[in-house]
């Protein structure tokens, strides 16, 4: 298993600034699934709809679900609303 730290941004900060997930592979898809499970565990299944519209980033790169992460931390980015 791989431990990945997930930094929270936007509405995901309602569950904290970040949390760790255990994933069997380093794929973004696996991390997305683990984050979804974490939201359920936290009693925030309502955020799963937001998660489906969210992207992940590693450093200053957006990463797609078929990609794998190189490091041990990612950010989860909900839909943006600047301006």
């Amino acid at each position: 298993m791989n431990q990945i730290h997930v930094h929270c941004l936007g509405v995901f900060r309602e569950i904290g600034d970040g949390f760790d997930v255990e994933v069997p592979s380093r794929s973004v898809a696996a991390i997305r699934g683990a984050v979804s499970d974490h939201l359920m565990h936290m009693g925030r299944s309502d955020l799963n709809d937001v998660l489906k519209r969210s992207v992940f980033a590693e450093g200053d790169e957006l990463i797609k679900d078929y990609m794998v992460v190189e490091g041990s931390a990612v950010s989860v980015l909900p839909p943006v609303a600047g301006g």
Binding site: L9, G10, S54, D60, L77, V80, A81, G82, G83
Partner: protein
Amino acid sequence: MKLFTENRGEKWCCGLLDGPCQTSELDAYVADPAHGAIAQFFGVVRNHNEGLEASAVDYDVHPELALKAMSEICSDICSVYPVRLLLIHSRGLVHVGEASVVIAASSAHRKDALGAVSDAIDQLKVRVPIWKKEIGPADEQRWLDGHSLRKD
């Protein structure tokens, strides 16, 4: 302006700062003796949204990604319009009446400056990792929905 992070190109500057944006003397950032037009846009926090009162907005930002996206927007716009361009956004708390985003563009003729400013704010809203938490008069808080960056 005291930017905590910024990036510059040959003809543009962008950055992020804590708190409200300065709205005066922006022309100095884009001044060019060959340019006869300066257009400015201020995005200002308003006191209502979707039927609810608001007293402030707390902006959350991914600084590295936001600066990268803002730099790409500036570069894209300067490749389309012959302008000098400034693009600044706030992080943290901005109260009603204060500016959270300022954009200034100068060009030889007005149409390019106006077009550049209009495109810049349109692009900022859909490409830059920034999030709004609206704060009401009784300190009630709600995150606003926005535009998904997901493309897969």
